[in-house]
Symmetry: D2
Subunit: 137 residues, 4 copies
Amino acid sequence: MYQHFVQYYETDKMGVTHHSNYIRFMEEARLDFFKKIGFDYLDFEKMGVMSPVIGLNNIRYKRPSTVGDTIDIEVSVKAYNSIILTVHYVMKVKDTVIFEGDSDHCFLSKEGKMLPLGDKKFPELDRKLKELLNQEN
Amino acid sequence: MYQHFVQYYETDKMGVTHHSNYIRFMEEARLDFFKKIGFDYLDFEKMGVMSPVIGLNNIRYKRPSTVGDTIDIEVSVKAYNSIILTVHYVMKVKDTVIFEGDSDHCFLSKEGKMLPLGDKKFPELDRKLKELLNQEN
Amino acid sequence: MYQHFVQYYETDKMGVTHHSNYIRFMEEARLDFFKKIGFDYLDFEKMGVMSPVIGLNNIRYKRPSTVGDTIDIEVSVKAYNSIILTVHYVMKVKDTVIFEGDSDHCFLSKEGKMLPLGDKKFPELDRKLKELLNQEN
Amino acid sequence: MYQHFVQYYETDKMGVTHHSNYIRFMEEARLDFFKKIGFDYLDFEKMGVMSPVIGLNNIRYKRPSTVGDTIDIEVSVKAYNSIILTVHYVMKVKDTVIFEGDSDHCFLSKEGKMLPLGDKKFPELDRKLKELLNQEN
């Protein structure tokens, strides 16, 4: 599980974490998740593979958070077909769910061409993501 | 129509506008939209009404943008039932759609209680939002 | 003169523009300034020249600003010796100075080597910056 | 010592941490520093005391950092006279200094009036800051 400590500069004049920052916390937690399953995104980038966010869905702001709060972030693989990956996030403060949502990703070469992971490029990551998908379901 | 001029500090190491910033551009464009239809959100806040983002849906990153680009943002009312408002956004750079998405909002009193707009509180805004909804559909 | 329209997401829980954002407004205004004197920073980058911020000095937060405020930003050349450029900023809301400060810049090649502008590389920019420096003093 | 883990969204198209973010890291480290010496800034705010940044000086960007880097931040009291506090920051990545700088702060009541800490309001914080100042010098 990943933890984000909410900062003063992440609040807005309502006194709570600005809603755009949760999209950033998703990124933080996702990169940490990839690292923990053995795939450092920064190494991927060096090899010329990018995995941009192509969509966000089912984003639910359930409770506010603010500076001083520790957000626990659980990341899981919601869908994966070797081309599109959907990552699911649940964020909690002291066991209360404050945020849920999904991000969609594809895999691109430096030149911007779609890279089906199952093909030949990254068989290990492909296998790992399928394994995680099955564990969830 | 609202325009956002992409700034250097809004780019990331991929060389493009970081995806979290589009959620901010949505907010910019939404406040401008409310102002143009005669309802200054900042005045609402002073009167003790808040309209937080409670959800994001159908967010699609279609093309990247970068510093120097002018993003044209069209805002419309997608759904409204006096309690929940769904705002739709289409962002274009030089007539090419680069982003689409929806945000869901409710209306809250300072104490965090739901304010059904149709009720008594803001009959004019309620009427205006219904009118805009009908125009769209 | 450059104008920045303060956004909701630029405020913090004190209800005012977060102080870090003024450093971003300096960048916005500086790139605009360079463009207006005929040197588009983005073109420079394409030619392999970067001009990073190497220092900030005399930053004074005199009055707060908040969402809805228009900040007028005046940019001038405070010092320049073909190697180091110091840019000065005065920010006002409705004629009241709210912020002042300086940023120091050098000029670097893609490989990170210092580029003395006077040398050979960009004689026109060198001449222009000296001219602006003299106008100020 | 405080640690900041540089995030992807903190980089810009030069591939490095955007310079404005270091001002945010200063805030993170400062609040952590205050907490460690027994004064939680958020508690102060609840008691109606604010300590805004009124100036930044001697900010030096010495080396870039990027996503994946851990920044070690040392915070110390550089000057203090019961009215103005100057905090000094040294940031390192793997023992190399990448950033140095100072921030100036005053203490304000909710109504925006200057609060000399030595006076009567917060004698313990006043004593602690003087003690830390002497340790440094």
